[in-house]
């Protein structure tokens, strides 16, 4: 995947470039907003990662101009400011996701993955499958090996999120954002507790655990 990074802090830029390079991505790094704008207009990238504060032209303005110029590549904004207003502004400007520095590389990697595989918005999925689990989004029914598993609404949403991204890691932060609509870290074990409930319902009767946990990274259900 071709990724453009615009980041003026050499340390962060290096850290991200190295990490994404190791994952096999083709990474270009610039440190000025104007360079980012020109490059993104001239060449086709699969993903743009911009720092919000850039010398020359700030990240937010670059995103706005790219969107006006019909550049549709997904944009991930990075910011050193954890302000609530910044996130809203960033998303309003046309960014697709938003990450507050400092972040764990695994968090960035998970989001890069999710952004690059974002399905076209017009396709509507009504059923999700993975490792013997079947989820019907219309009847809100979940079966494992044909047997109905009754789930609480949150557990259903958690499983849906994992199934939609089967094969990828979904981080704790992403689950908080998508299942609870919390863009802050409540510093409680709500994700862990609800995953554990979901797990024990799915595994009832001694079935193998379909949810893989990697400490400090997130959760994953393997794709078929």
């Amino acid at each position: 995947m071709r990724i453009l990074i615009a980041e003026d802090d050499a340390d962060t830029a290096g850290f991200v470039e190295r990490g994404l390079g190791e994952l096999g991505h083709n990474v270009t790094v610039v440190d000025k907003g104007t360079d980012a704008l020109h490059l993104a207009l001239a060449e086709a990238f699969d993903l743009l990662i911009f720092d919000r504060m850039l010398p020359g032209l700030d990240g937010l303005s670059v995103v706005r101009r790219l969107r006006t110029a019909d550049v549709a590549a997904p944009v991930l904004l990075l910011t050193a400011l954890g302000k609530i207003e910044d996130r809203v502004e960033g998303l309003d400007a046309g960014a697709d996701d938003y990450l507050v520095k400092p972040f764990a590389f695994s968090e960035l990697a998970a989001r890069v993955n999710a952004l690059s595989r974002r399905p076209p918005p017009q396709t509507t999925v009504t059923r999700l499958f993975a490792v013997g689990i079947e989820m019907n989004l219309l009847s809100r029914e979940v079966r494992r090996d044909g047997k109905i598993i009754p789930l609480q609404p949150r557990e259903f949403q958690l499983l849906e999120e994992l199934l939609r991204h089967a094969g990828e890691f979904v981080t704790r932060t992403m689950l908080l954002e998508r299942v609870w609509d919390f863009h802050f870290d409540p510093q409680t074990k709500i994700v862990e507790t609800h995953i554990s409930r979901l797990r024990s319902k799915l595994n009832e009767g001694g079935l193998p655990d379909p949810i893989e946990t990697v400490r400090g990274v997130g959760y994953r259900i393997p794709a078929e």
Partner: protein, 448 residues
């Protein structure tokens, strides 16, 4: 009445007017005595003069000459004096003064007035050589009348002064109180947390205005110091985040290289420690962002009842895992103007406190309800609660109660709750006879 008694302004005004009235009274008494004495002296002089005037008649023509002169004077009525002449045996032989024979010298006597009856008089009794006694007396009535007039005048003046003084004291005291009350009012507003309040300064630039102006300058200075402190705190948190983030990134890179064993555990722990500090900085930054007040622009109607139901559903399993129960009491819809996530964060902090600082078996109840133009969200438990004298203090930054030191946390949880409540103009109340309840009282959304 009690406020008047307890007000220094009224007391001062009353004291001044009372002193003024007393001074008038003293002056009245002094004038009374001075006038009385002067008039009495004049009266004595008149008597003396009349007595001396009769002496040549007696010397030249004896008793008969005296009788004639007395009759002449009484008949003329030129003075207001009364006369009497007594024989040595005490019988009155001349003059119209109807009185028994008095001793010689200056005397106060009583005589029988043909119109008014017994009347006091001032008299000079002179012993003549052949044991006759001559009495020249002046009725005291005019003197008493002057005394009465002076006393009456000053009595009225005293009463009028007292009345004017009372009225003046009420007006003056009320004025002082009003001026001071305005300053007090502003000070109370500031104590209640509105640091932007300032004293009003009148156009006269009197001493009250000067005090108010000095207080305003002082308040400006305090406000700028507080703002400075906040700025430094948030700048510090902000500036420390970058190097800390780098440290965390390096540790994470290291995490990828060390696969297992004790080293890996140490690295994992180091990453967690770094995250804890970063979270602390996040909380500081969030509080200073809330203090700025700019978030209000993004406020929208939030259904607090629904939010409480969601949080209840989300946290019930956590309570269960901790051996506690969590029930929800929030029906229907109750709208407040605010930021859903901030309110959620405040309520989660309160729920987390109830989960963290109570023994197993504790029953926790969270709820929300709309009432009288307000929406109240509360977290109640039957645990040990917060001691009454500590309740205000726990809302301060970095305060942790002795009992809570053993549990994890940085002491910013409740101050974040307070900052969020302040941003929403919500009041925090803590109560609890058996158990503990902390509640946030939001003004209801006008959209509701």
């Amino acid at each position: 009445m009690r406020t008047i008694v307890r007000s220094a302004a009224y007391r001062m005004a009353f004291a001044v007017s009372l002193a003024f009235a007393l001074a008038t009274l003293l002056l009245g008494i002094a004038i009374y005595y001075a006038a009385h004495a002067a008039f009495a002296r004049e009266m004595d002089a008149g008597i003396q003069q009349a007595t001396s005037g009769l002496m040549p008649d007696y010397r030249d023509d004896g008793i008969d000459g005296l009788k004639e002169a007395m009759a002449q004077r009484e008949g003329r009525g030129t003075d207001s004096l009364e006369y009497a002449l007594f024989q040595p045996d005490g019988r009155r032989v001349a003059g119209s003064l109807d009185t028994p024979m008095p001793e010689t010298g200056w005397r106060m006597i009583s005589f029988l007035d043909p119109v008014e009856g017994p009347d006091p008089a001032r008299a000079l009794i002179t012993r003549l050589p052949d044991s006759y006694r001559l009495v020249v007396a002046a009725d005291l009535e005019p003197l008493e009348q002057i005394d009465r007039t002076i006393l009456g005048l000053f009595g009225i003046a005293f009463a009028v002064l007292l009345l004017i003084g009372l009225f003046g004291a009420l007006v003056f005291g009320g004025y002082l109180r009003r001026r001071l009350a305005r300053i007090e009012d502003t000070a109370n507003g500031i104590i209640a947390g509105d640091l932007s309040r300032r004293m009003t300064i009148g156009p006269r630039r009197d001493e009250f205005d000067r005090v108010a102006s000095s207080l305003n300058i002082m308040l400006d200075r305090i406000a700028s110091l507080i703002a400075n402190l906040r700025q430094v705190t948030s700048d510090l948190a902000h500036d420390l985040r970058t190097p800390l983030a780098r440290l965390r990134n390096q540790l994470e890179t290291l995490q990828g290289q060390v696969q297992s064993g004790q080293q890996r555990e140490s690295v994992d722990e180091a990453v967690e420690r770094a995250d804890e500090v970063l979270h602390l900085f996040d909380a500081i930054l969030r509080i200073s962002e809330l203090d700025e007040g700019s978030l209000r622009r993004r406020f929208a109607p939030v259904d607090l009842c629904k939010l409480v139901r969601e949080l209840g559903e989300t946290h019930a399993p956590l309570a269960e895992d901790a051996g506690k129960t969590l029930d929800v009491q929030a029906e229907g819809e109750c709208l407040v103007e605010g930021d859903r996530e901030l309110i959620a964060q405040a309520l989660i902090n309160l729920i987390e406190n109830a989960l963290r600082h109570t023994p197993a078996g504790t029953k926790i109840l969270i709820g929300a309800r709309g009432e009288f133009g307000r929406v109240v969200a509360f977290v109640r438990d039957n645990g040990p609660g917060i001691p009454e004298n500590e309740r205000e203090r726990v809302l301060e930054r970095f305060v942790r109660l002795e009992e809570a030191r053993s549990t994890p946390g940085h002491g910013l949880g409740l101050s974040l709750v307070r900052a969020i409540a302040d941003a929403h103009e919500a009041r925090i109340s803590m109560s609890g006879a058996d158990g503990f309840e902390i509640a946030l009282h939001f003004p209801a959304s006008v959209a509701a």
